[in-house]
Amino acid sequence: MAEFIDLVLLAMLAITALRIIFLKDLFAVVMLFGIYSFLSALIFVSLDAVDVAFTEASVGAGISTVLMLGTLALTGRTEKENQHSSLLPLVVVVVTGAALIYGTLDMPPFGAADNPIHEHVAPRYIEESPKEVGLPNMVTSVLASYRGFDTMGETVVVFSAAIGVLSLLGVRRRKENESAESGLMEHRVLHVIAKLVIPMIILFALYVQFHGDFGPGGGFQAGVIAAAAFILYSLVFGLPRAFAVVSPTVLRYLAAFGVLLYAGVGVVSMLKGGHFLDYNVLAANPISGQHYGIIIIELGVGITVFAVMLSIFYAFGSQAERSDIK
């Protein structure tokens, strides 16, 4: 049954990808991409990767799609006819695809429990991590503790993206005498629903942040969801209001603060005699140390991701204010 679901989902993905190749209407392309991302998230769930599905849905179908739509609003909706021949790209793709298929020929069979990756390294994560780190969610243990250095790198990647977007687009402040019409204030229904839903979203984000040790979730997902709440607020109530609630300058400081918090935990570990990011030395009891370390670095991650995602949205959103949306 599970294999059948897999097969159907993969087929739907293939159809979506094929359709995207031939479509000229970029709005449809972006929407199909959102669908592609959601279908991938479903496949991840069926492959037992719940944390990944969560992240893919919020980041891929959420943030990426929003940013692409924001770009389309500024660059135009239709792709023009392609002038040059598609022969060379096709050849390159066929060769690369053939190489990949060749590579799959002696891959370990799908789903077998005795594959090399299940015999080495991973067994310790599965068997020992509940005792060494003390968390039910093994993915969080590996992400935050065993491979915490990678996660710090990831946080820095997010931070780098913010620097890139800020340097390219900046956040355009509205001038005093420009019209203050913005957002979707005429739409009563949206207005009311947004007021009800936004606090729920923020609450959910906080839940995901702190419950990531016990179930799917963690800093990244929480940061993105919290940013989504504020993005919804900006869409309905207008950017100037949003700037007044959370200003771009504050977001800069928050983004920097999150990274420093993460690295700071590592420095504290070094000062206490352990290696960088060794949480065992953070408290008298190593397991407590692990818990403290993980909670603080996840917080750092969540803060940075929230600040960066919202900053990027502010940057895109402030490029062209449109007060004629009806």
Binding site: A99, L100, Y102, G103, T104, L105, D106, M107, P108, N115, P116, I117, H118, E119, H120, V121, A122, R124, Y125, S145, Y146, R147, G148, F149, D150, G153, E154, V156, V157, F159, S160, A161, I163, G164, L166, S167, L168, G170, R252, Y253, A255, A256, F257, V259, L260, A263, G266, V267, S269, M270, G274, H275, F276, L277, D278, Y279, N280, V281
Partner: protein, 522 residues
């Protein structure tokens, strides 16, 4: 107490300084902090190199978890050597950039420039120091994103399209590396480089692993701009701000060459890559084509930055040629050229940046008569140019010497001849600029052009003098390069030996001498 953490400092220092610089903004404090951090990182790199030369490989388990369950930093002479070059160049360029960026970027962007610069330095240091294949991918992306930001900071709109093309090609390259690492992981279950090495050799030959190797090689080749995947480089180097080009040309592609060396020699083993997969011929041919085609392209450009950009692709061809010779001397030539080329190109791009600072253009016409109007800058360009050509007493000569020696050792007479012929093309493209500077009259109205400020001249000349110093006294660079290449070859042989004697006592002895520690052996 700090000594035990030296391994992680070159990454940690710029990484923590970057957010602080973002908060500080665009004032002189940012510049000061950036230079301080870069200088400290250089000092640490120096200590690390000395430690690897005397004590051997340094291993540091981040998070306190032993590899392969945790991520480790692994420093041997090869990466310590390249790290020293990267951090030193970074410090010099930062000194140079204070004045240089005033003419090339809006003031509001200066703070972001320093932030992105520090992130790039952290990323490059991470790539060099890490001993974990996936961690390498993460730091590669940090440095790449920072690089895209840096290149796009120029005012010329062509920097935007150049950056976009660089972004697309760079991301394809990184994704290929990710695919390759995934295939390796699938067959071995580990991501630690030494552990991978041991497990890969347990397989006689595996399609998945060979495909993984191919994808990693292609991905890295995009990053190091090996012909024909170099298309992003000329436009990116030409249109980026001068300080950015000086930094990137000396560091980013060299770090990618290091990654290639690391994967070939430490993870896969030279025997497997070159004999089983015939990569030596492929790399050699591509390298030679790169040297000639790109040296030729350099001779016909009117924009001097583009001349130097094509020259860089040609020089990378020399480095890959050294790798493809599959000998300790060849590898030593590559490693020494990584260091030397950083010195040469850093100085050259700084000189060209100085011309832009005063003239507002780097077309060859702008160079007319500058020999008299900007004597220090042009003298620096001349000396560094002679180094690229390979004149004795400069580092360029040292690199070419080792390369030709390595080729002759293998009786590749044709290759040795081609290396020397490449130098002739360099004479042409450097000579054109010198001719304009010294033998032509300046245009009307340029008589009031003067030299550039000292903060730009001093780092430029420090690099030029380093060119000459290390060309005359090669003891440090050649000792480090020789030690590194011997170690890499020993690793490689040890891996093949491990395959034969996996559970015998000889395996222990072999691993001790080549720096692999007993923890790797199960």
């Amino acid at each position: 107490m700090l000594e035990q953490h030296l391994a992680v400092l070159p990454i940690l220092l710029p990484l923590m300084a970057a957010p602080i610089v973002l908060i500080l903004g665009r004032n002189a404090l940012s510049w000061g902090l950036a230079i301080l951090v870069s200088g400290l990182a250089c000092f640490v790199a120096w200590q690390l190199l000395a430690a690897t030369l005397s004590d051997g490989v340094i291993r540091y388990a981040v998070g306190g978890w032993a590899p392969p369950w945790g991520i480790e930093m692994r420093i041997d002479t090869a990466n310590a050597f390249v790290l020293l070059a990267v951090t030193a160049i970074s410090t010099f360029v930062l000194l140079y950039s204070k004045e240089s960026i005033k003419k090339e970027m809006d003031e509001s962007q200066h703070g972001l420039f320093y932030t992105a610069y520090l992130l790039c330095l952290a990323g490059l240091s991470g790539i060099l120091i890490t001993g974990d294949a996936f961690n390498l991918f993460v730091f590669l992306e940090i440095s790449s994103l920072a690089t895209y930001t840096l290149v796009s900071l120029a005012r010329d709109r062509r920097c935007l399209t150049a950056t976009f093309r660089y972004l697309v090609m760079g991301t394809i390259g990184a994704t290929f590396i990710l695919i390759g690492v995934g295939m390796l992981y699938m067959k071995t279950g580990t991501l630690n480089m030494l552990d991978l090495a041991e497990r890969i050799h347990a397989y006689d030959s595996s399609r998945t692993i060979n495909t993984g190797l191919a994808f990693i090689m292609v991905g890295v080749s995009i990053k190091l701009a090996l012909f024909p995947l170099h298309a992003w480089l000329p436009a990116a180097y030409t249109h980026a701000p001068s300080a950015v080009t000086a930094f990137l040309a000396s560091t980013a592609t060299k770090v990618a060459v290091y990654v290639m060396i690391r994967f070939i020699f430490t993870v896969f083993g030279a025997e497997h890559v070159f004999e089983d997969m015939s990569m030596d011929w492929i790399l050699m041919v591509l390298a030679i084509v790169a040297i000639f085609k790109c040296s030729y392209m350099a001779t016909v450009q009117s924009n001097v930055k583009t001349v130097l950009a094509y020259s860089s692709v040609a020089q990378i061809g020399y480095m890959v040629l050294g790798i493809s010779l599959v000998s300790a001397t060849g590898l030593m030539a590559s490693l020494i050229h990584i260091f030397n080329h950083a010195l040469m190109k850093g100085a050259l791009f700084m000189a060209v940046g100085a011309v832009f600072y005063r003239m507002g253009s780097v077309d060859i016409k702008a160079f007319r008569g500058l020999g008299r109007l900007m004597p220090w800058t042009m003298a620096a360009f001349t000396l560094a140019g002679l180094s690229i050509i390979g004149v004795p007493l400069t580092v360029g000569f040292v690199s070419k010497w080792y390369l030709v020696t390595a080729a002759l050792e293998q009786n590749h007479w044709v290759v040795a001849g081609l290396v020397l012929a490449g130098s002739l093309l360099a004479v042409v493209y450097i000579g054109r600029v010198l001719e304009a500077a010294y033998f032509q009259q300046p245009d009307e109205g340029q008589a009031d052009v003067k030299e550039v400020p000292l903060t730009m001249l001093i780092p430029m000349w420090l690099l030029v003098l380093a060119n000459v110093y290390f060309g005359v006294d090669t003891s440090l660079t050649s000792e480090a390069a020789k030690h590194a290449s011997d170690l890499l070859f020993q690793n490689s042989d040890a891996i093949s030996a491990l395959m034969d004697s996996l559970h015998g006592p000889t395996a222990q002895a072999v691993s001790e001498t080549s720096g692999l520690t007993g923890e790797v052996l199960q």
